[in-house]
């Protein structure tokens, strides 16, 4: 009995020392636990652990999202030429970043970046990671800064809600996480790299297919419109800019209108209805300011 008590006391003392170690350095404590607990070291357990720890698009890290986004952006820039006008690009980045600061996701791995694509199609695209594109055709259709800002707010909404990452097939994501969870190395050997690159190619085709070919589902579009109203109004833009822009698209059967944004979205009429409901919920929304419309015309008035 006595021996048992002494044993328990010394064990408790040992435990106390271990606890101090745990407080001073978590990794040390992890080491203590590792030796204390039973282990099953086969690779299968590691893979299962990997799946338990990361199991949805929301578990893709900021850095991984950035690398996915870079490649999605590279594929977009492989299809469309860039409209080169440094002043306009700068203006676009100021409008976009002004909205981003007031969004639900102001911080993103490498910041938000905006670029004009040289095409008459009327379109806007957001790659994961905050690389956002608008077409020359869309800029020509905008009449003031509010319209442009609200379209950028819609795209920032897609990024903030990670709609692009949600396009990745679940099975593909599980393959990726299982594979990555089993890797202890920081640099991959040729065989692992080939396997990971194949998964990466699949991820990109899921996202680009959704972004350019199929378009987001109806709910994602309504969600992005709702976020646009929220972010835009917080910034101080008149949120009906997006409804006024959409109104210009009603009944537009031109090739430019049919190819881009509106091929892939719910109809403009349906969206305007939802947007007006969201704006009504704001009470008194901010209004248009002439100073903004003037600077919009200075920057976008001479589009070729």
């Amino acid at each position: 009995m006595k021996a048992a008590r002494v044993g328990a006391v010394s064990l408790a003392a040992l435990g106390f020392a271990a606890l101090i170690a745990a407080c001073s350095a978590i990794q040390q404590a992890t080491g203590v636990l590792n030796t204390a607990m039973a282990r099953a070291d086969d690779a299968k357990t590691v893979i299962e652990a990997g799946q338990k720890l990361r199991n949805s698009f929301a578990d893709i890290t900021e850095e991984e999202e950035y690398y996915i986004g870079r490649s999605v952006a590279a594929l977009i820039l492989g299809r469309y030429p860039v409209y080169r006008d440094d002043g306009l690009t700068r203006y676009l980045n100021l409008v976009g970043n002004a909205v981003a600061v007031f969004s639900d996701r102001p911080e993103i791995y490498a910041g938000y970046h905006f670029l004009v694509l040289d095409t008459d199609e009327i379109n806007a695209l957001a790659a994961p990671g905050g690389m956002i594109f608008v077409t020359k055709g869309l800029l020509r259709r905008c009449q003031d800064e509010e319209m442009l800002a609200m379209i950028l707010a819609h795209e920032i909404g897609h990024v903030a809600a990670k709609h692009g990452l949600q396009a990745i097939k679940k099975s593909r994501l599980m393959d990726a996480f299982a594979f990555l969870g089993a890797q202890a190395v920081q640099r991959y050997g040729p065989q692992d790299l080939a396997q990971l690159t194949a998964i990466f190619e699949g991820v990109l085709s899921d996202i680009v297919g959704q972004l350019i070919e199929r378009g987001y589902d109806r709910q994602s579009e309504y969600d992005a419109d709702g976020l646009a109203v929220k972010f835009g109004a917080r910034t101080g833009f008149a949120p009906d800019g997006i409804a006024r822009f959409l109104a210009t698209m009603v009944g537009d059967r031109s090739t430019a209108a049919g190819k881009g944004w509106f091929k892939t979205h719910p109809t403009p009429e349906q969206r305007i209805g939802q947007i007006n409901k969201a704006i009504a919920g704001l009470g008194t929304p901010p209004g248009i300011e002439d100073v903004r419309t003037r600077r919009f015309r200075q920057n976008c008035g001479s589009l070729k």
Binding site: G7, A49, L53, R70, N93, H113, E201, T235
Partner: protein
């Protein structure tokens, strides 16, 4: 009989203390960011932080977190710039270095990284990465954004809701 029970109690105590410690430990998840004097983007910067830096949570308010850096500086960071450093209890029986929580993957630079991109680029000439690099070089800083807001009667300078 007492020995194993004490040992289990000890393990539970340690696990709890670990979970508490982990809950207050944050990791910077964006490339670079700042901690600021007050919880807003246009407040004065106290220090610049890089991805992977560990922070201790002090308090929280409206999407902003007051943190303490490794060097002891205290300031505010937006919650979208950090992730909680998770310790998974299911993963405790493995060497932590082989585990992949979101925070730890970001730290290690594992997963889809520059090496995977380089491998993808080598096979896909149709992807225009030079264009992406040029796009990323165009930057506007927060002081310029603030000036833009001011001139456009936006944000704190106008009718923001």
């Amino acid at each position: 009989m007492k020995k194993p029970r004490s040992f289990i109690i000890l393990l539970v105590a340690m696990t709890l203390s670990l979970a508490t410690a982990a809950a207050d430990l944050l990791v910077v998840s964006v490339q670079t960011t700042q901690i600021r004097k007050s919880p807003q983007f246009f407040a004065a910067s106290i220090a610049t932080l890089k991805a992977g830096e560990k922070l201790e949570k002090v308090s929280e308010a409206n999407g902003w977190i007051q943190v303490k850096t490794a060097s002891g500086a205290i300031g505010w960071i937006h919650s979208s710039a950090v992730v909680a450093s998770k310790f998974s209890l299911q993963a405790m029986n493995k060497d932590m270095k082989t585990q992949a929580t979101a925070g730890e993957v970001a730290l290690a630079g594992k997963g889809f990284n520059s090496q995977v991109e380089a491998s993808y680029r080598a096979k896909h000439g149709e992807a225009n990465f030079a264009g992406v690099e040029a796009m990323l070089r165009t930057r506007v800083d927060l002081a310029q954004v603030e000036d833009f807001l001011k001139k456009g009667k936006l944000g704190a300078f106008g009718g923001a809701k």
